[in-house]
């Protein structure tokens, strides 16, 4: 069973529908025990980093998620679900993350914005460069487009985790992969065929 972690942030139904479309059942749950017992978990999330961490804590989900990942079970983070894995974020002051991946979450540089060439949030379809071939991203070509909407991006300390990068004024990390831990800055559930393909392969890994 795939569990989509519900902690009051984000459009979980789209993720669930995405899995259904490619033949997998996913349950939406905020119950720490169900999360622990799942075969795989998906951590979505929109909104502010600080609020997301607060809600995870309130729901008693921080330790279960960490434990789940430590056991090497399949994990997929989406958007803020990628950022939350990192050591800390600078969104609205410095806030501690799950610290599973060493590194920081930073804002797109404002100085890029003075000429209004770069709009924040980074919103829309942007292309990826493949940095590392991993199972879950199989069949995704260089320059494939995915749907993004975010104002902050992750900077891993160890570049080995980087699976994809994307250019938006700066070249930033748009996907990471490390064993069974996967996370993407874009929204696979909103990225039509190629996005659904990622969900499908994640489902296959889970079996």
């Amino acid at each position: 069973m795939i569990a989509i972690v519900d902690y009051g942030m984000g459009n979980l139904r789209s993720v669930q529908k995405g899995f259904e479309k490619v033949g997998y059942t996913a349950v939406i749950t905020g119950d720490p025990n169900m999360v622990m017992d799942a075969d795989a978990i998906v951590l979505p999330g929109v909104g502010a980093f600080r609020d997301c961490m607060k809600n995870l804590e309130k729901a008693g989900l921080i330790d279960p998620i960490k434990e789940f990942i430590n056991r090497g079970k399949p994990f997929l983070g989406i958007c803020l679900g990628l950022q939350l894995l990192f050591t800390e974020s600078e969104e609205f002051g410095i806030h501690k993350g799950l610290d599973i991946i060493k590194g920081r979450v930073v804002r797109f540089p404002d100085n890029l914005n003075t000429t209004r060439l770069i709009k924040i949030p980074h919103m829309g379809w942007n292309s990826v460069k493949i940095k590392k071939r991993v199972s879950i991203f199989e069949g995704i070509p260089d320059d494939a487009y995915f749907y993004f909407v975010h104002s902050y991006y992750v900077v891993p300390t160890d570049g080995d985790v980087i699976a994809m990068t994307t250019n938006y004024g700066v070249e930033f990390t748009s996907a990471i992969a490390s064993d069974n831990l996967f996370a993407v800055q874009f929204h696979p559930e909103k990225s039509q065929e190629l996005g659904l393909q990622i969900l499908k392969i994640f489902g296959e890994i889970t079996k």
Binding site: N11, R13, S14, K17, G18, K21, V46, G47, A48, N113, R116, K119, I120, P121, H122, M123, G124, W125, N126, S127, Y145, Y147, F148, V149, H150, S151, N167, Y168, H187, E189, K190, S191, Q192, G195, L196
Partner: protein, 265 residues
């Protein structure tokens, strides 16, 4: 590179697509979900549902449309029209909408935009602006700004009520209040097929740091190009040229790509 977005807009009344729709091979051309699926197949980057149902009591109908659409299409969905409360927003997001577009309610109470973006995140709050060029006689109604430059005034209630608010100032203020995007409609051009008001679009786009969607007046493929280039819009929205099958989304994208605009094919 970030691609420019092509966004078809569906006007929905009482759960049905309005404007005569000449879709071929559709069982039910009035069903917004079926039309949405067609646009997705053609490569639309997003979809916007504009609910023009008059009665607020019938809000459940658009919620149901969004709910069904979110089961069948996997791209961003924006919903606008008659959004008044945080509860309206919550219900639509829960049904599967990604972005909610707010117009009249923002003018009535600009703090509504602030509360909404704090509660749901800027990424899902679109402020929709209906703007009309100010002819000189009305200039005295409009706050400050030197008069050698063109000005635009915003209207509410589907373009029926003038507000005396300057469109550029309003867009800047909405950005400050946490709007994640501006959907900008020229009332002078809407329905004319004469093209977007590119001057208005450029002024707003250069004044804010958030994405701007051009709307109102697209009647040809060149107009979409002009909106993105001269108008400096991040996305273009059109209803009738797609509804009436004057162009498919694919044709539009091929045209733009030939002219060096980055689009997702």
């Amino acid at each position: 590179m970030l691609a420019k977005r092509i966004i078809p807009c569906l006007d929905v009344k009482d759960g049905r697509v309005v404007k005569g729709v000449n879709f071929l091979n559709l069982k039910d051309a009035g069903d917004p979900v079926e039309v949405a699926e067609t646009y997705e197949r053609e490569g639309a980057d997003e979809l916007t549902f504009l609910d023009i149902t008059a009665s607020h009591e019938k809000r459940d109908i658009i919620i149901d449309v969004v709910y069904r659409a979110a089961e069948r299409v996997f791209m961003p969905l924006t919903v606008g029209g008659g959004i008044r409360t945080l509860e309206d927003i919550r219900a639509l997001l829960k049904a599967g909408a990604d972005k909610i577009s707010i117009n009249t309610a923002a003018v009535k109470d600009s703090m509504f935009v602030k509360r909404a973006s704090e509660m749901f995140g800027s990424q899902c709050i679109v402020v929709s602006i209906d703007a009309k060029e100010v002819v000189e006689i009305n200039l005295s109604n409009i706050s400050n700004k030197s008069s050698d430059q063109k000005q635009w005034e915003i209207y509410t209630h589907g373009g029926r009520r003038p507000t005396g608010i300057d469109a550029v100032e309003w867009a800047e203020r909405m950005e400050d209040y946490g709007a994640g995007e501006i959907l900008l409609t020229s009332m002078d051009r809407d329905g004319t097929k004469e093209g977007y008001d590119v001057e208005l679009t450029r002024r707003i786009s250069e004044s804010v740091g958030i994405p701007v969607i051009a709307s109102g007046g697209a009647g040809s493929i060149e107009h979409l190009y002009d909106g993105l280039t001269k108008g400096k819009a991040d996305a273009v929205l059109a209803a009738s040229i797609f509804h009436y099958r004057e162009y498919t989304i694919r044709e539009v994208k091929e045209y733009l790509r030939e002219r060096k605009i980055i689009v997702r094919m």
